[in-house]
Symmetry: C2
Subunit: 408 residues, 2 copies
């Protein structure tokens, strides 16, 4: 049998009892005859505890030292899980990111995996050991400890699955899989059996954070099959894979896969920008230089040679965006700006959209029927998103879910 990579998040290893439960589950997979590689995050609150400790010492810790500190969280959970497996009679070995050969770039606190040297991993697997790898961390060529940034453990798992050519990368979470909409908002939301990488990427970046977007990107690049499933039961969850493989499994073509909303949005509007070529590009270059991810952009020509420009950023980037606007004001010649926190992005996502026109029209119609005003629109090949007032977000999701007949 082949290699199975399983990833358990912080809440799955929150305390000794949780760790014992995970060990039991891992043992079951091993008993089925698979070679097993486990990736774990830090125990529940550990990372926050460590950040709090650092905060008592300095409000601006060097990122290298923060990585040194935070990497201990995963090192603790891999050791404890290995002990729990030993207690159950299995031969397990825990490996830090460094020991597992996960090489990253030098950007501390949000480094990217460059390559994985699988020598040690393969050696342990050959000896039929269950291998437990610390997620979220790696090492540079200079032997410096790095971390991959928030949600990095998903990326560690998928990258390991890619490097080891694993049959599947199972991501265990506290939900059953990926749903057509957030079940807390839409009671008849349906679990998807399969979803394509691109759809998952759109949904992930839209607040349905079952999977870290970076991990889906890596999975897409290397064709890693991801299985998102619950750590509380043995039901099969949602398979994330290439769309053409999906089609073969599906009885009918599904146009829209899901509806999502995202409240982590701030809408900026800059007024009265002179309509000179390159003006907008100067603003967005300056934002990009400061690593601010701009999502939607609308330029509205109001009168001759003068424009308003609206765009959205995440709430984290709000203050930095204000600084950039202040810095570039004389370049872009803008007179004034405003921003609005009280907005939401509602999106319908579906790989089938490409070949099925009319999804956008149906979305606008549905929102209009529900008296929801659309402030901004953006479309891609597999997604239509609208910015609306935040208070209508839940109502919009429920209405769209019903209009596209996504329920059970």
């Amino acid at each position: 049998m082949g290699i199975v990579v399983q990833k358990f998040g912080g809440s799955s290893v929150a305390d000794a009892e949780c760790i014992k439960r995970v060990a039991k589950r891992v043992g079951e997979t091993f008993e089925e005859g698979h070679k097993v590689v486990i990736v774990v995050s830090a125990m529940g609150e550990t990372t926050d505890y460590l950040l709090d400790l650092a905060g008592k010492i300095t409000d601006n810790p060097p990122k290298r030292e923060l990585d040194m500190l935070l990497a201990t969280g995963e090192q603790q959970s891999i050791a404890l899980l290995s002990m729990a497996l030993d207690k159950l009679g299995y031969s397990a070995v825990s490996l830090t990111g460094q020991q597992a050969g996960i090489f990253t770039d030098h950007v501390h606190a949000k480094s990217k995996i460059l390559w994985i040297n699988c020598e040690r991993l393969e050696e342990e697997l050959t000896q039929n050991h269950i291998v437990i790898v610390a997620g979220f961390q790696g090492v540079t060529e200079r032997n410096e400890i790095t971390t991959l940034g928030r949600g990095g453990s998903d990326t560690s798992a998928v990258a390991l699955a890619a490097a080891l050519k694993a049959d599947v990368c199972e991501i265990f979470t506290d939900v059953d899989g990926v749903y057509t909409a957030d079940p807390r908002i839409v009671p008849d939301a349906r679990k998807l059996e399969t979803i394509s990488y691109d759809e998952m990427l759109e949904l992930a970046s839209l607040g349905a954070l079952v999977l870290q977007p970076r991990s889906v990107e890596v999975a897409k690049q290397f064709g890693v099959k991801i299985h998102v499933r619950s750590s509380f039961n043995h039901n099969s969850g949602t398979i994330v894979q290439e769309v053409r493989e999906m089609k073969q499994q599906m009885e009918k073509e599904i146009v829209v896969s899901g509806v999502a909303s995202d409240l982590n949005v701030v809408k900026f509007t800059i007024f009265d920008i002179p309509d000179v070529p390159g003006t907008a590009s100067k603003l967005f270059s300056a934002l990009a230089d400061d690593m601010i991810n701009v999502d939607m952009i609308i330029q509205s020509q109001q009168r001759d040679d003068i424009n308003d420009i609206s765009f959205t950023v995440t709430r984290d980037d709000r203050e930095k965006t204000k600084e950039v606007i202040a810095k570039t004001k004389d370049i872009i010649g803008g007179r004034n700006y405003s921003y609005e926190n009280n907005v939401a992005k509602v999106s319908v996502v579906g790989a089938g959209m490409i070949t099925n026109p009319g999804v956008a029209a149906k979305m606008f119609e549905t929102l209009a029927e529900n008296d929801i005003n659309i402030e901004m629109i953006s479309t891609s090949e597999i997604k239509v998103s609208c910015i609306i007032k935040a208070e209508y977000a839940q109502k919009a999701v429920a209405a769209l879910h019903s209009a596209f007949e996504l329920g059970e």
Copy 2:
């Protein structure tokens, strides 16, 4: 100026405030123009917390995984201390045992340092960085994380001082230095300005645990000057160094340097062992095979061809000793045995003893005058030890301290 190695124990880095205080002190040493290498232990209760966590999962964790777990304690404190130094404006860099090039043997949980590859350390020192090294830990040639066992941070510090040819290895503790006796027992106990490695070794292993004996052995082997001093003040403490260097500094020759007592003793007696050559050696070989350190041994011939053998071990080893005696009973042919917890070892230590006979006699006389019965005696070139009833330990120490005129 040369290199100074400073070691701070767990109580010195118990919380954020303590870590800031240590950073200030380290900064002062750096300002004096020294190249500075700092060794720290895990924060106060961290190791116990981690052991407790492991205990909730299994009562017999694999030692490799325990090392993986415990090594995180020091990794956290080095990162936090480095942050605190950065906050004060110093360029500091923290290094794990692996990064610092501390190579050990493969014996997990009590590994020994084999050699130190100083490349990275020297590179950081050349760049005028304050280098902070995780004590208590190292790495094997196979890239496995190991720990040095209890008190290993002292050993890390001394070994680093030896490898880097440091001017001095300063061990910061909660006492002012090494005293002629425990000041809690003997109020007029005097702080020693200097003490030889051998005397320190005898005192260390006698319960005056200011310094870990292993670290003193390494210091002796490589001629590392140790300065035991308080982390609460700037007084000079006690210098541990070669006896010949001491002599030059001393105005008069001191016969006895200190008096110590040790309650961590269990006395075993095995009765009626046939007096056949090699019988005793079989017992002590079996004890050695199980890593039990036997301290004092007395063989008393009671009647023809039959002996009683008494010996002492530490309390930790009591149960294991009982097991070994049970296993070897048919080999050694012993009929029965007893053990006594309620004993103490009282010792006088002094390098000057070698050339001054009569120390043992004076010790026995003093104990006799105080109606304290001696159960066992052992002597070395610089030490005389007696096993007495535990309840007389304090009285004995005070009487001997006074008899040898060690007070202020």
